[in-house]
Symmetry: C2
Subunit: 133 residues, 2 copies
């Protein structure tokens, strides 16, 4: 029960892209270098974000990744779901009737967390901090 490193990388990359100029794409090499991770691995992670429609990739020379137009709407939860999947954190494997009271409690708790993550946008962070990235 832990967020994967991939999520860590994805969040930081999104923060960086949000803080950067939105027009120019940023190469995966630069992004990887900042976070001390191999470019190919980071590229694999970012592909998921592309498929989720948050960023787009520009191929060719001076290519890289760039935010899509709808940024500002992108929340922490969106990014986490894109990487980790959006399945619920808990599956009761025991069949005691239609619904499990334990599952109900845990899912309610999970919902609390997701609500917080849903309300936090990347753009909020950029505002409140002087970019030390």
């Amino acid at each position: 029960m832990k967020f994967s490193k991939a999520t860590d990388y994805a969040l930081h990359t999104m923060l960086f892209l949000t803080a950067a100029t939105p027009d120019k794409p940023v190469g995966v090499q630069l992004l990887a270098e900042k976070q001390k991770v191999s470019p190919t691995y980071l590229s694999k992670i970012l592909t998921k974000l592309v498929k989720a429609g948050m960023i787009e990739s520009i191929t060719g020379v001076n290519g890289g990744y760039r935010l899509k137009r709808n940024w500002g709407d992108i929340s922490f939860l969106d990014i986490i779901h894109a990487i980790e999947g959006s399945a619920s954190l808990f599956d009761c494997s025991f069949d005691h009737g239609p619904d499990c009271p334990i599952q109900r409690v845990v899912l309610a708790a999970e919902e609390k967390m997701e609500e917080h993550l849903r309300n936090k946008k990347m753009s909020d962070l950029v505002q409140e901090m002087n970019i030390v990235f």
Copy 2:
């Protein structure tokens, strides 16, 4: 990022023990049978709960597991932490100064979830449901 099955088993076992008579120990065989899991594996999980001080094991014939005296205080969070460990869900591996804004957001969200789990006790569940176990 998912709760392990071990946590599932632990929660259900605790619910069962809470609902059962507190005096008599319950054999691991019965507990395992209910949840369709091997007794040896379940025993390994319950050992963690013993070490966390929630239950105690009675060796010998008619032995088994039994709640400790302080039940009623035991929350979902206690059980989950006993199984999964109490490390935080997120570690920022990037060093941008003293604290990471991303980490702050995620940990705050985690705290929301934990708060909910901390306030839910096993005894609450037993009351509100007619035991279908």
